[in-house]
Amino acid sequence: MDAMDHGLSVTLRALATEAVHAGREDLAGLGLHAPPLDLSTTYPSYDARAEAARIDEFATTGARLDGPPVYARLDNPTVARFEEALARLEGAEAAVAFASGMAALTAVLLARASQGLRHVVAVRPLYGCSDHLLDAGLLGTEVTWTDPAGIADAIRPDTGLVMVESPANPTLAEADIRAIAHSCGSVPLLVDNTFATPVLQRPVEQGARIVLHSATKYLGGHGDVMGGVVACDEEFARTLRQVRFATGGVLHPLAGYLLLRGLSTLPVRVRAASSSAAELVRRLATDPGSPASTTRGSAAR
C-alpha cells in the first residue's frame, strides 16, 4: 500500500511527469530503481485465522488487501503499480487490470449483470470483438444499438451500462463524450479510450464513470504484452476486484511490469506517432496522385 499512500499525497503534476513516476513513488525509499517483479502465486502465512479475516474483508468490500494478497488471484504488487499509474493518468480514483481488454470488458458486464442490470446501450462502431460480445449476448446481456442522439430513449430500468468508443475502431469517428454522459443520466457511461489514450483524452473529466483500455495497444506500446484495464471510481473498482477474483481473468505480473514500463514513454510515443499520422493524412488528402479516397486521421490533436 506504500505506493498508493505516497501517490495520494502527491500534488498535481503534469501528465508527462506522472507517466514516469506514478506507481513508483516508494521505490527510492526502498533503495530500488526498477520496480520489483513479484511472480508469487501464493503468499505464506502461519496465522490462518488472520488470513480468514482478511479474506472475509475482501469478499465483503473488494478493497485491496493490506499486506500480502494471500493468493495471486486477489491482487499482485507489481500489477498494482500499473493500476495506480494508469488511474493517475486517467484522473480516476482506481484502476483494475485484467488479462486482456476483452477480459476487462467481460468483468464490467458481469459486474453490472450480477446486480440485475443486464441491458446495455451501445453506439457502433466498437472494436469487432466488443461488438460481438454484446451482440451475441454471450454473458446473458442484451444490447440496444443506437446513435448518440438515441441513447436517452434507449435507456430502460434494467440498463446497467452505456458504451461508446471514441475515436471508434476502425473508422475513427469521434463522439461528444460530455453530451453522451449527460444523456446517460444515472446509468454509468463506459468509454473505450484505447485509441486516444489519456495523453489525448481523459473521459472521466468529461463525465464517463468507466474507462476501458486494451492495454495491449498504446499502453504497452511494443507489441509484446497483452492486457486490459478499467479505470473508474473506487466503489466500482471494488466490485471489479471481486469479479476478477471469482472469474480469474487476472493480468500476469510480468505483463503488469511491462505495462508500467510502457506507460513511462506513453506521452512521447503518442505525440510522435500523432505527428507522423497527421503528416500522412495531409499528404493522402492533398496528393493528386493518391489512390486513397476518404481519409481520416485521429489522435493527431
Binding site: R124, N169, A173, L219, R269, E279, L280, L284, P291, A292
Partner: protein
Amino acid sequence: MIAFEVYGDPHDVIAGVRLITPAVSLGSVDTLIQHPASISHRIVAEGDRRSAGVSDRLLRMSVGLEDVEDLWRDLTQALSAPPAAPLRAAAPAASGQPVAVPGPAGR
C-alpha cells in the same frame, strides 16, 4: 491512427507493404496496417459492419515511430503497386496468395 478507403483492392495494399507491418493490433512502435472487414471486425455481421461505416474498402493504419518519409514511400508504393504475390502470406497457402482469416482476431 489513420483510416482511409482505397479506390483499388485493399488486399493488394496489405500484400504490397514492405516496411509497414501487415498485422492486426495497433499502438506499437512499428507501423501496422490491417483490413478491418477481414480481420479486426470480421466477427461482426456484414450488414452491421457496413452500416457502422466499416466498408470493405477501408484500411486502418496504426502509425508508429518510423521516419515519416520512409512510411510515405512504403505506403505510396503499396497503394500504387499492381497486384502482386505477398512476401509472406498471413496463413499457409498453397497458392501463395493471401488467405482470408475466417474467425475473429485481435483489435
